[in-house]
């Protein structure tokens, strides 16, 4: 696969116009993830409403792959239940580590299938995963915070 093909139109569109970008209130948890090898950074917030992802907001610096991947991720997870979102995280991660041999499920991954080609460029896989990993961590923290809150309330 050529680099030109890896840089699918969808990726460049999301790089030019990042969805849900910027940091917003309210949020349940905030994390900062860094890719120390290349310096890409993302600060990401997750707001839950019950078991649903109410919002994901973020600010980041990095390459088109990491930026676009984060943008696509927000489109996918906002509005879903946390469980559904984490299942998507897992599916996307598996795709990225598949060395290009896994066929992505377009119905589930939607725009994220554009990153299928990245799996063939091992050096860039971390870029595509940066935002997703940050989301996973932040969601876990937000869930834990909610749980602590409701324990307090129920006492």
């Amino acid at each position: 696969m050529s680099v030109e093909a890896m840089y699918a139109e969808i990726i460049l569109d999301h790089y030019r116009e990042k969805h849900h970008s910027g940091l917003r209130e309210p949020y349940g948890a905030q994390v900062q993830h860094v890719n120390p090898t290349c310096g890409d950074e993302v600060m990401l917030r997750v707001a839950l409403s019950g078991d649903r992802v109410a919002d994901v907001s973020y600010e980041g610096v990095g390459c088109s792959i990491s930026q676009a991947s984060t943008s696509v991720m927000t489109d996918l997870v906002i509005g879903r239940t946390v469980d559904e979102a984490l299942a998507l995280h897992e599916e996307f991660t598996r795709l990225m580590h598949g060395r290009g041999e896994i066929e992505p499920d377009e119905d589930r991954l939607e725009d994220a299938i554009a990153f299928a080609g990245v799996a063939k460029f091992p050096a860039r896989v971390k870029c595509a995963l940066l935002g997703w990993s940050a989301f996973k961590d932040a969601a876990a923290l937000a869930l834990a915070a909610d749980a602590a809150e409701s324990m307090k309330e129920s006492r």
Binding site: S2, V3, E4, M6, Y7, E9, L12, D13, Y15, R16, T37, C38, G39, D40, E41, V61, G62, C63, S64, I65, Q67, F121, A123, R124, C127
Partner: protein
């Protein structure tokens, strides 16, 4: 002309590799340099015929290995113009050398003492001093830079950056991002005037310039083997002998001792005091061969080639629409290292991230580095998060720069078309 780049290139087996349909244009030598066959062969011969531990093994192989290791040190000492062979301490890389300096020099630092670095340093000349200051309560201060990417000496003077509290000044000789050549002698004089020790990070300078540690004005100079056509796994700290002789050890273990008793130990004189455990023996052999290789080419010629190829690159890169070079854009009288960092944007103003640039360039055979090049504070100071860096060395051809420019053009247009 005696400096024949094509001939020199034939010494480097890796340079004949291809990337798909393209010849490899390796423009990442500030990251690590390639190795000539003689350096590789020297290590092979060592492992195949002379391998043994040094100093403590006195049999035939031990004597051969020791002589080879000592010869490596002698060659390196000669290469940098040291007064004594014992002034060269072998480490695993420049980073260890700088940590050794920070630990040994800094062992007696206390609150109120100040350590001065600059905002253009490589992380390896920042973090050791941050950790030292955290351990001791000393204060870390730093030189800012001017818009041309030079040390801001006026600002430093105004804020009395170097003053009677200063204990250590540690600066890079040549910037790995901007190519700036810093006025080490001038700053060393300021440091010495207040009784401070001058440490120099020579990682980018020693491979490119004729080095005379005695003329430099510094007290300690760190550098690294893999950037000077030598192997990985070895670096060095040069130090004035009388300074080294009074510094406490850093790493403890075999070889650096005089007498070990359970109740306490005494330590060997320099350089051994600072070399705990089995040293990088084969690597010292390789680095010695590298010093010989560079010496035979002649560092004056290497430096002249570096200046010429850098001038050429600066000239053609600046003709490229959307490309902005960081720092100084001319090889002035102060000189300039062979690293050129830049940003690239499409015609409609979209910043193309350096990782994307790098990936595109790679697909067209051109190896550059994208990111903060282990100099995040410098990039932050410049108001950017990353840059693309092309860096040149004694084997770099104009043809490779042309290949770079063509690939950059293509990349910019690809990202532009997507608009």
């Amino acid at each position: 002309m005696s400096y024949d780049v094509e001939l020199i290139r034939s010494d480097f087996p890796i340079l004949s590799r291809r990337v798909g349909d393209y010849p490899l244009a390796y423009l990442d030598s500030a990251n690590t340099s390639q190795k000539p066959q003689v350096v590789i062969d020297a290590m092979v011969d060592h492992y195949e015929r002379h391998n043994a531990n040094v100093a403590r093994a006195m049999h035939m192989l031990g004597a051969e290995a020791s002589a080879a290791y000592d010869a490596g040190r002698e060659k390196v000492a000669g290469f940098i113009g040291a007064n004594r062979t014992e002034e060269v301490v072998f480490t695993k890389n420049a980073s260890e050398a700088l940590n050794l300096a920070a630990h040994s020099l800094g062992a007696t630092l206390k609150p109120g003492d100040e350590v001065v670095i600059s905002v253009m340093e490589h992380h390896s000349n920042i973090v050791p001093w941050q950790l030292l200051c955290a351990r001791t309560g000393a204060t870390l201060r730093w030189f800012d830079i001017t818009d041309e990417g030079r040390l801001d000496l006026a600002k430093a003077a105004a804020e009395q950056l170097i003053n009677s509290n200063t204990r250590i000044v540690s600066l890079t000789w040549v910037s790995n991002v901007l190519g700036t050549v810093n006025p080490i002698a001038e700053i060393a004089a300021q440091a010495h005037a207040v009784g401070a020790v001058m440490v120099v990070d020579g990682s980018q300078a020693v491979p490119q310039l004729t080095t005379s540690v005695t003329g430099l004005g510094a007290d300690l100079v760190a550098f690294t083997g893999h950037k000077m056509v030598g192997p990985t796994g070895i670096g060095a700290l040069w130090g004035r002998y009388d300074l080294l002789a009074e510094l406490p050890p850093f790493l403890g273990g075999g070889e650096m001792i005089e007498i070990v008793k359970m109740g306490g130990s005494t330590f060997a004189p320099p350089p051994y005091r600072f070399e705990a455990g089995t040293p990088p023996i084969a690597q010292a052999v390789g680095l010695g061969a590298a010093a010989d290789y560079l010496g035979e080419l002649g560092m004056a010629d290497v430096a002249a080639h570096e200046a010429a190829i850098t001038s050429y690159a600066l000239r053609v890169l600046q003709q490229l629409d959307g490309l902005r070079v960081l720092g100084t854009t001319s090889v002035g009288p102060e000189g300039r290292g062979g690293a050129v960092s830049f940003t690239l944007a499409t015609r409609d103003g979209l910043d193309i991230h350096p990782h994307d640039v790098m990936t595109f360039l790679d697909s067209r055979g051109v190896a550059v580095r994208g990111g903060h090049h282990c100099a995040r504070p410098l990039h932050e100071r410049l108001g950017i998060t990353a840059s693309t860096r092309a860096s040149f060395y004694l084997y770099t051809l104009e043809r490779e720069i042309d290949q770079l420019v063509e690939a950059l053009n293509y990349t910019r247009d690809f990202f532009g078309r997507a608009a």
